[in-house]
Amino acid sequence: MKDGHDQGPPLVRLDAAELHFPVGGVVAQLQGRATVVKAVDGVTFELRRGESVGLLGESGCGKTSTGRMLVRLDKATGGRVEFDGEDVSGLTGDALKRFRSRVQLIFQNPFEALNPRFTIRDVLAEPLENARIPRAEHEERILRAMALVKLGDAGQFMDRYPHQLSGGQLQRIVMARALILEPEFVVADEPVSMLDVSVRAGVLNVFRDVRAQQGITAIYISHDLALVRYVCERTIVMYLGRIVEDGPTEDIVANPLHPYTQALVAAVPVPHPDQSHAPLPIGRGAPDPRNPPSGCTFRDRCPRAFDRCAVEAPGPTHVQNRIVHCHLHEPKT
């Protein structure tokens, strides 16, 4: 089924989705300094069934926020977030319950994602209870989920508390919890960033295998291009709440189009003694999400910025099989 994704309607669709947070305390409000942080500011993309997409970008660019909107942990403050044709923000009651069993989130920090007072069994039973799965089936489904994440010797873990497990094991439990209801769509928010290098690979492999086996549609959030490349065939690069580039991962690694993506690819260190120490094609400034530059938000760090970048935010440009948001790549008119 290589590249044989379902050609039907997209499973997930974001249309100019926005997530804005008001910030500033009482003092700021009094001084009229209170503003909003545009964590996600007009993001549009579609996911087809079975697709696995990496969401890449530096810290604070809105990756997690996008993920939270997708699973409806936060409601979009603007635009639309659709799952299977339905507006996610409007879900209530039973529709929401159904949504909850079809869409799951895998958390970044396995040490915090499990209630320290719950045994592993309690953790895994919670979604089952919520989905009204008969109690008699719990044991079997829990064991199945644990087998799925390669915690073969499940019985050994069932009645342990989270602090009695290693980070890698915990992250697998977190995954098992997400997968136990056999969801169609999974958002994984930096699922291995808290893990040691030596155990990371194991968890990544499990993720990759399960996704492929179950045909799950997935978004993998990370700031590490090397990891995204390992699990996703498509990558979306974000900068300050907006998408800058969207296309097949290998193409992006080999030939990044957007100046930001270029810097990003160049900055990734590799475990080889001989590598380029050439300076990065990017300014030193750091983005301030509260006060982004006008026009293209990347322009203040962009080595190739020109007049137009300050006035006009670049729209999507299709370049081959990719979408780039940059004035440099707009068709000359």
Binding site: L73, R100, N109, F118, T119, N130
Partner: protein, 304 residues
């Protein structure tokens, strides 16, 4: 290892489930000071429960000497009155013993009320946020603007003098401290990954509150509850001293008031005003000791 084997290991039944979920409500037995506090409580609880057996007299009974004169202002030991008698001829020791009842009654109900209201307010405000939070926290601001003791005095003046005034006032005002702290605790809990995970897993708000939030908030409720015991008893004593107390129920605060009103200090009747004061200090400190134990459960970095 098979499933059946592990099932056997697993403690089942409601009690075990509760115990696992609410394991946080453990007594702070690791802290020597807290253990002392608990012992003091056990002592007073026994004293209160068995007051009728321990106390040789009705604490309100006016006693007479064998010569049919009033048994007033007798020093300890005289005529078998262990701690002597009051100016009105009442047995001080019996009053001390019965005083444990009101102290515990006021202290524990006040603690319960404060902890309960504070926890509910805090959890609701913190968990749901929005207008519920706004309304409740503005209410808390108002409560913070109310000077507590004056408020109790006013309350005592327009209700009948009663030991419950203190409890009512605490219920009306002092939930604010507990409520605020529990709210901020709930706020951090609400954003804990495991709580969000429960939400993504489809748990209802009520379920999340009961299973994930409440158990973590309980030690805080207990902490504030054990402090509230002290406030309640101290406040009752102050109120009694100022003359707004309940004359029908013997409390240590009432005894102090009685002693001061009868010039025990000038008479040098230390046996009269030292024991109730000492017991108040003891039981209030005990509450503080226990609260420190809870603090250490909550914020273990504080010590060691």
């Amino acid at each position: 290892m098979s499933e059946s084997v592990t099932s056997k290991h697993r403690p089942s039944g409601l009690f075990a489930r509760l115990r696992r979920r609410f394991g946080s409500i453990r007594l702070p037995l690791h802290d020597p000071l807290a253990v002392i506090g608990l012992c003091i409580y056990v002592f007073f609880i026994l004293m209160a429960v068995f007051a009728p057996l321990i106390a040789p007299h009705d604490p309100n009974e006016i006693l007479f000497t064998s010569e049919f004169a009033l048994a007033a202002d007798l020093t300890p030991g005289t005529d078998g009155y262990i701690l002597g008698t009051t100016t009105l001829g009442r047995d001080i020791f019996s009053q001390i013993v019965w005083g444990a009842r009101s102290a515990l009654l006021i202290g524990l109900t006040a603690a319960f009320v404060v902890a309960l209201i504070g926890s509910v307010v805090g959890i609701v405000a913190g968990y749901f946020g929005g207008w519920a939070d706004t309304v409740l926290m503005r209410l808390a601001d108002v409560a913070f603007g109310i000077p507590f003791l004056p408020f109790v005095i006013v309350l005592a003046a327009f209700l009948e003098p009663s030991i419950w005034n203190v409890v009512i006032a605490m219920a009306l005002v002092l939930w604010r401290d507990t409520g605020r702290v529990i709210r901020s605790q709930t706020l951090t809990l609400r954003n804990r990954a495991y709580v969000e995970a429960a939400r993504v897993a489809g748990s209802s708000d009520l379920k999340i509150i009961l299973r994930h939030i409440a158990p973590n908030v309980l030690p805080l409720s207990f902490l504030y509850g054990s402090i509230a015991i002290g406030w309640a008893i101290l406040t009752e004593a102050s109120i009694s001293f100022l003359g707004f107390g309940d004359p029908d129920s013997i409390s240590w605060g009432y005894m102090l008031q009685d002693a001061f009103a009868s010039q025990a200090l000038s008479k040098g009747s230390y046996y009269w005003f030292v024991p109730p004061g000492f017991l108040i200090i003891l039981i209030v400190s005990a509450g503080f000791f226990i609260s420190r134990g809870y603090e250490q459960i909550l914020f273990p970095k504080l010590d060691r």
